[in-house]
């Protein structure tokens, strides 16, 4: 198991280094001089010179890259051009809000998908309905579902607040908006793997041993069917973050998505770079965690390496 974990970690590092490099060069390739962005075009020449030196903008590119890596390794992400606060602080303030939203959405997605997939595995009319519902759920744009939910449950029936994150229950509508596409995908995969496991011989064997239909299924079928779903759930975190950017825009939720959009609007590149790095780190960490969980759930994968 230790070798397995080490192997996965080794794969994680080059990808992260690649993302860091990409972010660095995107930052250098941006149109316009960062000095102009910080001081405005009409600033006096000596102040511009001073700032250029302070930011090490005249150093050769490899040196700048080395310095960037060094700063990163010590957690220094630069300063926001807009608020003048350290980027790390801005990210730290926004991350918990997005995490709260994504966590609630993930929970809701599982709550919706599991019963639907179980019903679908029984076949018949339920299967057709679940299939139609998931196909609608997969095609439903977040930025259509969100306004519809707002309209019905915040405007016509004012049960929930229209925007923000402060009032109790404010998380519910955005979380549902975010949960629906994930839930549809999860349900698809779960019902596919459930119907695959239903015909397996070990289930027949379990029934032959005298286990009831339900017990045999719960103890053996479900556990095996969950494996592929767990993988997808982990890989879906990227999708959830994407959805979070759009959902936060609709519900004016003060998370990472709102931070990114504000940074684009005001050309606040340090914040944009920091946010891209954080998103990538989260996605890679989720992939890694999924791999490890998968190895934990299925001993065969661990052994084969």
């Amino acid at each position: 198991m230790r070798g397995y974990v080490a192997g996965r970690l080794l794969l994680f590092l080059p990808a992260m280094l690649g993302v860091v490099t990409l972010v660095f060069f995107l930052g250098r390739a941006l149109p316009g001089d960062p000095v102009d962005l910080m001081l405005g075009e009409g600033a006096p020449a000596e102040r511009r010179e001073e700032l250029r030196r302070a930011l090490h903008l005249d150093d050769p590119l490899p040196m700048q890259y080395g310095r960037y890596l060094w700063d990163l390794s010590r957690g220094r992400l630069g300063v926001s051009l807009r608020t003048r606060r350290p980027v790390a602080e801005e990210l730290a303030a926004a991350l918990p809000q997005t995490a709260r939203l994504a966590g609630a959405a993930l929970g809701l997605a599982v709550l919706l998908a599991l019963p639907a997939a179980l019903a679908s595995a029984r076949g018949g009319a339920a299967r057709r309905w679940v299939r139609a519902a998931t196909s609608a759920g997969l095609s439903l744009p977040t930025f259509f579902l969100g306004p519809v939910l707002l309209l019905v449950f915040a405007v016509w029936q004012p049960w929930f607040p229209v925007s923000g994150a402060d009032e109790p229950g404010a998380w519910f509508l955005p979380a549902v908006t975010l949960a629906v596409p994930t839930s549809a995908l999860l349900c698809r995969l779960l019902s596919a793997s459930l119907s695959e496991e239903m015909g397996r011989e070990y289930l027949t064997a379990a029934r032959a041993r005298g286990l009831g239909e339900g017990t045999a299924f719960r103890r053996h079928g479900l556990r095996n069917a969950l494996l592929p779903a767990v993988t997808v759930l982990g890989l879906q975190l990227g999708g959830l973050l994407t959805g979070a950017i759009l959902t936060e825009r609709i519900f004016r939720w003060p998370g990472l998505g709102t931070l990114v959009l504000g940074a684009i609007g005001s050309r606040d590149y340090p914040v944009l770079q920091g946010a891209v790095l954080l998103f990538a780190l989260l996605t890679l960490a989720a992939t890694l965690a999924t791999d490890l969980l998968y190895g934990f759930l299925d001993p065969r994968i661990r052994r084969d390496g």
Binding site: L11, P14, A15, M16, G18, V19, L22, L26, A29, L30, P31, G123, R127, R128, A132, S135, A136, L138, S139, L140, P141, T142, F143, F144, G146, P147, V148, L150, L151, V155, G238, G239, L241, T242, I245, L246, R249, I250, V260, L261, I264, R267, L272, V276, F279, A280, T283, L284, T287
Partner: protein, 276 residues
């Protein structure tokens, strides 16, 4: 099961054709110019004068929706075409030749997969600028990865086959083998992949436009119309509902068509469906 699938497949095909026709004929079908403002009739609901109402600047929603279909379909088609060609060529070359090229492609794909698609697209738009070409570039920059992976896997499995060995024994070079033997074999599967991916490209386009990073006003797109609708949700809900429903119908149709194509490609799955 099979019959029910057939009905939705036909409905999906009809919808896709209808949207393509609407996009192509928008100048003929639209009752008003898409940018024609009429500030005396702002935020009006559907009426005999404007069938789907008017927006915050008094522009005709139906006309904007028809022209918006043009933008959505054109951007989706262009981004998909670039992604398919670039992904296929890079993936097939990496799979066939292997070595350093394959290593480089593998690392690049790892990095791109670590970034949520829309964030990469946002980064591209933030650095390159806004408009039709940056939008297409941003969307294809994320979409090519999937085709490259499939093309690479196909090339890897095809390069050891006897007909490839025979061709090389006759003195054919790598480019010839790729063009005459590998790509023709791989294209069928890649087409199906592209059909299945069209819906997600269209959603991504609408998402970027929704965030204000797509086609710039006064040109309409469904995502941009939805953003306006979100801001006027209290006064004029139809502004969000109309483009939302249109986008949903188009994405559903593309998804359903793509799915039925992939099911048709996979005989094992078709067999199971028939057996149910």
């Amino acid at each position: 099961m099979a019959r029910g699938g057939g009905v939705s497949r036909k409905a999906a095909a009809a919808l896709v054709l209808a949207w393509m026709a609407a996009a192509a004929l928008a100048p003929l079908l639209a009752p008003a110019p898409y940018a024609g403002q009429d500030l005396e009739h702002r935020l009006e609901g559907p009426s005999a004068r404007a069938w789907l109402g008017t927006d915050d600047l008094g522009r005709d929603v139906l006309s904007r929706a028809l022209y918006g279909a043009r933008v959505s379909l054109a951007v989706t088609a262009a981004a998909l075409a670039i992604a398919l060609v670039a992904g296929t060529l890079l993936g097939a070359a990496a799979g066939y030749w292997g070595g350093l090229l394959d290593q480089a492609l593998g690392r690049t794909v790892d990095v791109l997969l670590a970034l949520p698609g829309i964030l990469l697209a946002i980064a591209v738009v933030a650095y390159v600028g806004r408009g039709f070409s940056p939008l297409v570039l941003a969307l294809s920059a994320t979409a090519w990865v999937g085709y490259a992976r499939v093309a690479r896997a196909l090339a890897l499995s095809l390069r050891g086959r006897d007909f490839v060995t025979a061709s090389r024994a006759c003195g054919a070079g790598g480019v010839h083998v790729l063009r005459r033997h590998i790509l023709p074999h791989a294209l069928g599967i890649l087409w199906v992949q592209a059909a299945a991916g069209a819906a997600s490209v269209m959603l991504a386009e609408a998402g970027l436009s929704f965030l204000g990073l797509g086609i710039q006003p006064p040109h309409p797109s469904w995502g941009e119309m939805l953003a306006t609708g979100c801001d006027c949700l209290l006064e004029a809900p139809h502004l969000a509902l109309v483009p939302g429903a249109l986008l949903f119908s188009a994405v559903w149709a593309l998804n359903t068509l793509g799915e039925s194509l992939s099911e048709g490609m996979d005989p094992g799955r078709r067999h199971r469906v028939d057996a149910v």
